[in-house]
């Protein structure tokens, strides 16, 4: 273990760290939007579109991100759709994450006790009011644990961006190992970098989950 090696690599790792954070943030945001949209369409059983979205969710959820990225990065340019590696990463992560988030939201909406729906109906609510005042507020808090797990999962998935040469953390470390052949130092830095992102985040998410659970359960 050589400290000078570590020191010298810090700027590169900081850059990779920032890129991992940024790509995670944008990808997760995109996933949440796509996921919420899908789950709403599925909840209201919008004809045709809901079938299409269900197809998308199953396709995206049941295939590896790596192949999805290969399609975007290597195959699409052949038919003239060329995107930068970063754009491919964003689109790929959103494509994959959207399906996971859709499942999380739908799971929450489906988890509401039938009695709650009855109680809403009994005071004369229509479909929309039921959704607005009963299904969504309760369903969203029920879906928080799954959403939180997806956030962690998607951040970890950004490590796969290294295959299309996006200089995020993993790619940075592998590059450095390739050039300088110092695997110990760079791998240690890589592990620490992920720990810095994911340990505090998973603690925060656990606290959030506990809060929300307290708020939504115990009729």
């Amino acid at each position: 273990m050589d400290l000078t090696v570590i020191q010298a690599a810090i700027p590169k790792f900081v850059a990779g760290f920032k890129l991992t954070l940024w790509m995670s943030f944008t990808g997760i945001l995109g996933s949440l939007i796509v996921g919420l949209l899908c789950s709403l369409v599925q909840y209201f059983k919008v004809p045709v579109i809901s079938k299409v979205f269900t197809g998308y969710v199953e396709l995206a959820r049941n295939t590896p991100l790596l192949i999805q990225l290969f399609f975007l990065y290597y195959a699409f340019p052949v038919i003239g759709w060329k995107m930068s590696a970063e754009t491919c990463g964003f689109v790929g992560l959103t494509f994959l994450g959207g399906s996971y988030m859709a499942e999380a939201f739908s799971g929450g909406f489906a988890g509401i006790a039938p009695n709650q729906i009855d109680a809403g109906k009994a005071i004369g609510m229509n479909q929309f009011q039921l959704a607005r005042y009963v299904v969504f507020p309760q369903g969203l808090s029920l879906s928080v644990p799954a959403l939180a797990a997806n956030v962690i999962f998607l951040i970890k998935e950004t490590s796969i961006f290294s295959v299309i040469a996006i200089p995020e953390l993993t790619n940075t470390a592998l590059d450095l190992i390739g050039i300088y052949y110092r695997s110990n130092e760079y791998l240690l830095m890589l592990v620490i970098a992920y720990a810095i992102i994911l340990i505090p985040l998973s603690i925060i998410l656990t606290i959030l989950e506990r809060r929300v659970r307290y708020g939504s359960f115990g009729n």
Binding site: N62, T63, F70, F71, I79, S162, L187
Partner: protein, 225 residues
């Protein structure tokens, strides 16, 4: 697309090679799952014991495998085993080792969760008829936990299958790696072949994981009744 590039799939022995890669992918996934599930069951049982240091160690093990991306885990083993431990395993065995340890970590949490959710009175009635701890696990807790944990286990299997896509990163000749080689060898003559090869691989993963997730849903619904 002038033609769909079907001839690239059947040119030479390309199709056999792709099938060979598929087999590599499948056996690595299966073997990792089997080893991981067995190890995970043991670890999960240990995590329900009262021994605090043991529980902390196992918890740390779980958290490490949860927090570090699988890609990184693969590279850790790939570089550290030969260079630090002088252990020169072929890449496919490195992969099995990493995946199995990862599955064991995840599964230990599933097993533990299922074990502690077996109602207390079941435990007590087992003890009341004179079962010892091991017998209690073997005849009362594990069988009940098993049905509780089945959907989560199947979901874990789908994740293992998807994770095998990372094999090419440590140069295992899996279905994706062989696909890449075929594409590269024929890129000049059949530029559209890339869609077909990726399509076949995509379809393979989809078929396996979609069937598994349908199964998980079915089991989950059956469990609720």
């Amino acid at each position: 697309m002038g033609h769909l590039g079907t001839n690239i799939l059947f040119a030479g022995n390309n199709f056999q090679r792709l099938l060979g890669g598929l087999w590599t992918t499948i056996w690595i996934a299966l073997l990792s799952l089997i080893i991981g599930l067995i190890l995970g069951t043991i670890l999960g049982m240990l995590r329900t014991l009262k021994n605090r240091p043991l529980r902390i160690v196992l918890r740390l093990y779980l958290e490490f495998f949860r927090i570090i991306p699988t890609v990184v885990l693969l590279f850790l083993a790939y570089y550290i085993l030969p260079r630090q431990l002088n252990l020169n395993l072929p890449a496919d065995q490195v992969a099995v080792l990493v995946f199995a340890l990862w599955v064991a970590a995840e599964f230990s949490d599933i097993v533990r969760g299922a074990l502690i959710s077996v109602p207390q009175h079941q435990r007590e009635s087992g003890l009341a008829i004179g079962l010892n701890h091991w017998q209690l696990f073997r005849y009362v807790l594990l069988p009940q936990a098993l049905t509780l944990e089945l959907p989560a286990t199947i979901n874990l299997a789908t994740r293992v299958v998807k994770t095998t896509s990372l094999l090419m990163l440590i140069s295992v000749m899996d279905v994706i790696n062989i696909g890449q080689q075929i594409i590269e060898a024929n890129g000049q003559t059949h530029p559209n072949g890339i869609f077909l090869i990726y399509g076949v691989i995509f379809f393979f993963y989809f078929i396996v994981d979609y069937s598994l997730s349908l199964l998980a849903k079915k089991v989950d619904i059956a469990k609720q009744h």
